[in-house]
Every structure is written in C-alpha cells, then in structure tokens.
Amino acid sequence: MDKILSRNFHHPHPLNIDEYQQAGGYRSLDSIIGQPRKELLATLKNSGLRGCGGAGFSTGLKWSFKAPDAPHPVYLVVNLDEAEPGSFKDRQVLYRDPHTIIEGVIASSYILEADKAFIFIRGEYRKGAQGLEAAVNEAKAAGLLGYNIRNSGWNLEIDVHLSAGRYICGEETALLNAIEGYRANPRAKPPFPIAKGLWGSPTIVNNVETICHVPFILHKGIEWFQNQGTNGAYGSHIFQVSGPVKNPGFFELPLGTTAREIIYEHAGGLLEGRELIGFLPGGASTQFMLPKDLDIPMHWDGPPTVGARLGTGGIIVMDDSLCPIDFMINLMQFFTRESCGFCTPCRDGLPFVKYQLEKFETGEADMTDIDTLRELCDIIYPNTFCAFAPGALMPIKSGMDKFETLFHQHIDNHGCTHPSHTPSTDAINNKVDC
C-alpha cells in the first residue's frame, strides 16, 4: 500500500510549499483544474470513497446532491473539530503536513465550484491552526489560491477558522452555527447544509481526511485507490490505537485491516501482564467489540457484523486493569459535560444514565436498576434533536449486552470489587467552569 496522507510524516518538520512541491505536492491539480467537473465527480462517486469522519457516507453521492444550478456563493467546510475521545488522526495531518489539507481543499472546491472554504479547527489545536494559516499564505503567494486560479475562471479563498471548544461543534449543522457566531446548537434537518448551509447558501461539510483523499483519487485513478484497501474495502485509513498497549499511535493502513493486526502488530499488543477485555473500534461513541471480534476487518461493513461501527478508526483498548462499568461512567461523564443542552432527553437524560451507572459502582443498585437503565436508553435514543445522545448511548447499550454478568456481579457484591475502584473525584465533577 502507498502511504497517502502520512507520506510526508517522516520529515523532521512540516514541509514548506517549495519542499512540498518538490516532493510531488500540488501536482494532482494539473489533472483536476480545468477538467469537466461532472466527470471528476463521477470518478469520485465510482471510487467508493466514504466519509472518514465516522458516518461513512459515499462522498461522491453526497456531493452529487448539490443542485447543478445552486446559487453562489457555495461554501466548502472542512471539519477539523476532532474531539472524539480516542481519535487523533486529523491532528497528525494538521500538525505534520498542512499542505496536504490545502491540496485536498483546492481539488474538492474545484469540483464543487466552491467560492470559499472554511477549515474549522478546534481551539485546542491552536498551534496547528497557526501552521495551517502560514501554509495557506504560502499557497496564496504561489497563486494556488485567489482569483482566476490557473486561468480557469474560478476563484477560491480559504479561511482558517479557530473554534473555542465544545465537542458538539463537530456535528455539521452545529459547526455552521459556530462559524456564524452562534452557540453551537445543531440545526433541524432538512434543509440539509448542501441546500441551505452557511448564511443560507449551499454548503458542503466533510471531514478533513476525506478531503485529503480526493486529489489522489482523481490524479491516480479509481483502480489505484481501490487497490489500497483490503478485505473488500477501498483506500487507506489512518487508524489510531490508544490505551494500555506497547506502542500507542497512528498507522496509515489499508482500510479493512483486521483489528488484531492493528492492535497486536502495529500497536505492539497489550502491556506485559495485561489481558484484553474489549475495545471501542472508532472513538467513544461506538459500540464495544470483544476479543473474539479481533479478526473482523476494520472497514465500514466489518464492525456492523457484530453490532458495532467503524467510527473514526480510533481504537480504544480496554484491559483488565479497569472495571468496564468505570470505563462506561467515564464515557458518560464526557457526554454529560459536552451535551449542548438544547434538548431535554440529552441534557437531563444523559446525567441520569451516568447516575444509574454509578449506582452499580457504589453498591446502591438492585435488579430494577438494570431495567431502569435499559428503559432510559430506549427513551433517550430516538427522542433527541441530533445524533449526539444516540452516539453517547452506543457504548452503554452494547456494554450492558456484552458485559451483562458484570452488572449482576456488582449487584451481588454490593458494588465494584475491582482493585482499581476508587471513589470519583467530586471536585472534578462539581467544578468545571472558569
């Protein structure tokens, strides 16, 4: 497999525009700018590229929903609000090779006839945003951005937008509100952003990794792209592994590589003496997978065979050093804190789920609490305004199914008897604002 997104990561510093061009960068634009957009879009559609932010929707199909006579301005919004716990792939591209992002944005914007692209970066990646801003200025000076690019009659500006925190900004319509200077509450859909997005104009929102794939597919062709995957999947993906493994990190591998290969070969396996209990395959809002699922290929259709999903490909390893219920409480602490507060089932329901889980740890739970917890999940799941709470409940629902005996043990033992069990730090839970 050719390394695509991480091909320049071995350099000691991110490449400046001259170095990037010497390494073959921006060459893809020769075979893109000036070409018929319809044909380029058809190539993208047929390539099988799917959104790398976690949803896995066909990128070409999504883009084809933009009306041919869509009014201008058209916006492209690149989602670099990477805040999904356990995910750190977008950060690597931003900090290590910002010109790859710009090349992707130019190619994608050309196909979409976008007039302006916003690269929306989470506030915690401020240093990376500065590097990207410098790279954008280099690209501008080199004539790759601006007015009448390569005499195509097409203009493009890139705006690096630094956000100010909050996980919900990664939801595409909340992200649009954040850019417009509102609280990042999700918007009702329809209308979808592609019809009515930023300031009412057609807006296409895509994850940064997806955007970075585009110029390579168009330059090197469908066959090349499809050969990069394995086990029936197309393209490469930056998998990430965190938790108690010997070599936690990020690895660009064929999409479809098995979880076993990723965890045990690339991430070096678990720390000495530790035992794998389970793992989340793609960030905090995905369902648990078990050791028996290790040979499942990590592509869009792999984890669903065991009731999970690929998500961001950020594998979080759970070993025997921690109680799985404590693991789930931590997940709920995150989602409870990050709920935007707009709708009641999410704002009030998620803290209740966390409270119910804590009862098992502290020994206050009885058999009725298992039913209460399930009922809560069932009520919250279909009744929220956006996908935040359903995502938050995915690991909880699957954890209750896959570690059911553990819940019973906690009831029988009047609490958690795991050696790692310590009371939660109240100071942390009660004091989060500044």
Partner: protein
C-alpha cells in the same frame, strides 16, 4: 486595550464575514489573549466591533469552554480526563494537581501561577495521560511525579499566559510542530 493597528485588524476580520457576529469568537479570543480572561471592558469593545449585546456575548462565553469570563492564574493547564487518558491514570494526575496547587479544580493556585482544569480529549491519546498548557503546549506521558514537577516549574516561571501574543496575530504566526 488594543492599539489602533490591532483594532483595524479586528474590524477588517469582522467585516470579511457576511454577518459581523461571525467575527465575535475571534474578537473575544483577542480580548482574552490581552487580559487573560474576557473582562467588561473587552465586552464593550466587542459590542462596538460586532454589534453583539453583552447578553449575546455572555451566551457565547458561557457555551464555549475555551473562553473565560473570570480571571485565571498566570497559566491554564487543561488535564485531559477523557477515556484514553482515564484508562492510563488521569484521575491520579488530577488528584495530584489538586493536592499540589492547594485549591480545587478551576480555582487559581495559591501562588497565582496556574489554574488547573479538566479537559475533553486533546487528541494526545497516544501520549496519555496528557495535558495542554495555555492552549498551545502539549504536556505528555504524565505521571504523579512529573505533574508535580511540571507544576513546580510553572510556579517558578514569572509569566506565561501572554506568550500567544495579541489578538492581531491569533493565528498569523507560524507554530508548526516538529515531526520527530
């Protein structure tokens, strides 16, 4: 608070959006970089720049976690307590930080050097447990010993918060990370 050049830059930034309120976060960041937090005077200036009322700005500041309405220590250290750091022991790191600073989370340490806050995932999961100083500098592979050492060093340093510079160069200066 701002020099005429900085004000011109902020006005230009606000005006480059179709609606001026889109520039509000940028302007609030600029105030925060100058003062350390967003004070009443800063809110007045942002009203002049964007037309947003005090209440509208309070709505934003209370929503976005990186914006601060209250004064903080000379530094702000955000210790990640999301799942990847949690499984690697972030709870002990936060407990150690509370002990070392002598104040609860969110309060200014007794010597004024730092405010410690819990943080959502910082994207440093492969270097867990991790923290971020002043939204810029990564602190990685922490343990109870190293967090104590780090906080001691902060307490010896005179002033770190304004190392980001003023609002006029929020994202204009190069800050690329070493790839090694």
């Amino acid at each position: 608070m701002f020099t005429p050049d900085e004000l011109t830059h902020l006005k230009q930034h606000v005006n480059h959006y179709p609606e001026p309120r889109a520039g509000a976060i940028y302007c609030l960041y600029a105030v925060q970089d100058k003062v350390g937090h967003i004070n009443d005077k800063g809110i007045e200036i942002v009203t002049e720049l964007t037309g947003l009322s005090k209440t509208q700005q309070e709505e934003l500041i209370s929503f976005y976690t990186l914006l601060r309405r209250r004064p903080i220590g000379r530094n702000v250290l955000r210790i990640c307590d999301s799942i990847s750091c949690h499984v690697m022991g972030s709870k002990a790191i936060l407990d150690a930080a509370i002990k070392q600073t002598g104040v609860p989370i969110g309060e200014i340490s007794k010597d004024g050097s730092v405010t410690v806050l819990p943080s959502i995932c910082l994207g440093l999961c492969n270097k867990a447990p991790a923290a971020l100083l002043n939204e810029m500098d990564e602190v990685e592979n922490l343990n109870v010993h190293s967090i104590n050492e780090y906080l001691n060093k902060l307490s010896e340093k005179p002033h770190d918060l304004n190392n980001k510079g003023s609002g006029s160069n929020i994202i204009a200066t190069s800050g690329r990370e070493n790839n090694s």
